[in-house]
Assembly symmetry: C2
Homo-oligomer: 200 residues x 2
């Protein structure tokens, strides 16, 4: 033998990590294999030892991004803290302010996914559902009726808001995000009016 299997897996992960970030930030077509491999500290030639092609990588990267979205991580550890609804909403909308490092695949890949094959769309859907479920779970615990519907509505708003905001010009983007955040939190509060409010 030679390199340990662990090593290869680590390299693969490095590629996936780089790919997910780049794809999420720029989309499929605007990212080149050379860029990805460079970010993973290799040259492009090494690529085909790990994936069969760009499309195949994209598929894997989408799943990677999905299961590494911030709301998917630490699923059980931060139950009491990060799951606080407002924190989640704020964090989600904080794109462009402080969390460019973890772009959500939901809006960043939304256009790509629409043009891609079944597997990619499924990965997208899983990602979407995971956030909805996460939110719905919290809402249920707080006694919300129609937690599912409210959660789905909220996620649509979040995704739509961020996607649109990214296309706005600077001065207006920030106001738009603020208004949206307020609206979303308000909706959540009214959905919870029989229990404790979210805002505080």
């Amino acid at each position: 033998m030679s390199y340990t299997a662990k090593h290869k897996e680590q390299t693969r992960q490095r590629i996936l990590h780089a790919a997910a970030k780049l794809f999420c930030s720029h989309g499929f077509d605007r990212v080149t294999l050379t860029q990805i491999m460079k970010k993973a500290n290799m040259t492009h030639g090494a690529f085909y030892a790990h994936f069969s092609g760009k499309s195949s990588l994209y598929e894997a990267a989408m799943q990677f991004a999905s299961s590494n979205a911030f709301w998917a991580r630490d699923d059980k550890q931060t139950e009491g803290k990060e799951t606080h609804i407002k924190a989640l909403v704020t964090r989600y909308l904080s794109w462009g302010r402080n969390d460019k490092e973890h772009p959500s695949p939901l809006e960043f890949l939304v256009t790509d996914a629409a043009h891609k094959e079944e597997k990619v769309r499924q990965a997208y859907q899983v990602c979407f559902d995971s956030l909805v479920d996460r939110l719905a779970g919290i809402l249920k615990k707080r006694g919300s009726q129609e937690a599912e519907a409210l959660a789905e509505e909220t996620v649509v708003s979040l995704v739509g808001t961020v996607a649109i905001a990214r296309s706005f010009t600077q001065p207006l983007q920030s106001d738009f995000l603020k208004r949206a955040q307020e609206r979303i939190v308000n909706r959540l509060n009214s959905g919870l009016k029989n229990s404790e409010p979210v805002e505080g």
Copy 2:
């Protein structure tokens, strides 16, 4: 002279029309100049007589798409009919069912715009605002308080819904759209509860 100026302008419009549709359906990178010119009934060589390059065309096409969005057309003629809120919502969400011919630039170009220069983003913003204003106008006439906020929220939902739906796999897409439509119409109704409802 030779060709009438009108002719050239018509050709330019043909190119814009083709480009807007293709860009809206597939995005900037996935559309080739040859495709566009073919759709405009010419060969690719003729292109540079009308535009300085692909980017420049994109910019113009975005504005074209914006001012030709279905809600922007017939701004004053259909005041009584098409402006009916529910019809507008339904029509907007009907993408994928019966109106593939008029894809809305708002979700189809959202990812592109985010990566492009100021002018494109401005065009996007104008497009967005025009729909918000249109809705807000209707809501105001119906006596809604906070028409602006409700309109903006609604448009975010519409755009988010369609964008996400496009990335879903077939069986679930249609249910998702139905649920969203119901939620959106409900929100509009409650925003109007002091006047006539939208639905019935």
